[in-house]
């Protein structure tokens, strides 16, 4: 949907993921979308170089989020919010409605 604007579909998936969940990491995204992890790593690096996302190491995992200091963040979020409304329900269900609330250790997943 925003592929034409962003140049490729991976960027669209990354931005929707970060918009919906607040953060994400390459392997998680690769598993969610069934795409090679290096494709996400490359595009996340591109977005980080451009100042659009920011990352930090948590343990051994590099976690990414939309960069709160990106000067066009409010406008980008508005665009993503609008575009998200147009995503097919099936796609939202498959990729963007993962459980995010905590689950106590020991309970079956």
């Amino acid at each position: 949907m925003l592929e034409g604007l962003f140049g490729n579909i991976t960027i669209e998936k990354i931005l929707f993921t970060l918009f919906v969940y607040g953060e994400g990491y390459p392997l998680g995204m690769a598993k969610t979308f069934g795409v090679a992890v290096n494709r996400f790593q490359q595009q996340l690096k591109r977005l980080e170089d451009a100042g659009i996302v920011a990352s930090k190491l948590i343990g051994r995992v590099r976690v990414y989020a939309l960069n709160p200091r990106y000067p066009f963040l409010a406008e980008l979020k508005t665009l993503l919010e609008k575009a998200y409304e147009f995503l097919p329900e099936k796609e939202k269900e498959a990729y963007y409605r993962r459980r995010t609330r905590p689950r106590r250790t020991g309970k079956p997943q």
Binding site: K45, D49, A50, G51, P68, R69, P71, F72, L73, A74
Partner: protein, 169 residues
Amino acid sequence: MIFRALDKKDIDAILVGGACVSIYTKNKYQSFDLDFVTHSAMKEVAAALSEFGFQRKSSRHFSRDDCPFFVEFVAPPAAIGSEPVRDKIALRTKRGTIILLTPTDSVKDRLAAYYHWNDPQALEQALMVAFAQKTDLSEVKRWSLKEGHAEKCRVFMKMMKTGVNYGRR
């Protein structure tokens, strides 16, 4: 040296981030990151810096073996939060002119890191600059409110009043 290299090729850039804090606090806080913003292409920047021995380490990073500083050209535009950088300072030194953020923008720049990432070091750096240099605190307040960080701005202003460890003016 970096500015001389860029100037030689007619590349405009501004120094931002922790290096401004080092300059404004006379190295009370020492940063080994030199963050610049330029609208010029990285290819041109790389060519300019290579004449001075700096090698491109990744898309926006440069280093030189005998130089302890890590040079980065962060993506443009130069912004403080959601506002563009409007003013800059040209600091003349024995080795050339450095273009950098104003003290007030440097305070806002550090506060942005504190506001968005809860970084206590950034708050400390903002206080150091504000105590060391003439800073427009009403502008800092206006910007903070616009960014939606009234509560953390109050913390900063309160510490400005008490400012035990930051060398009160």
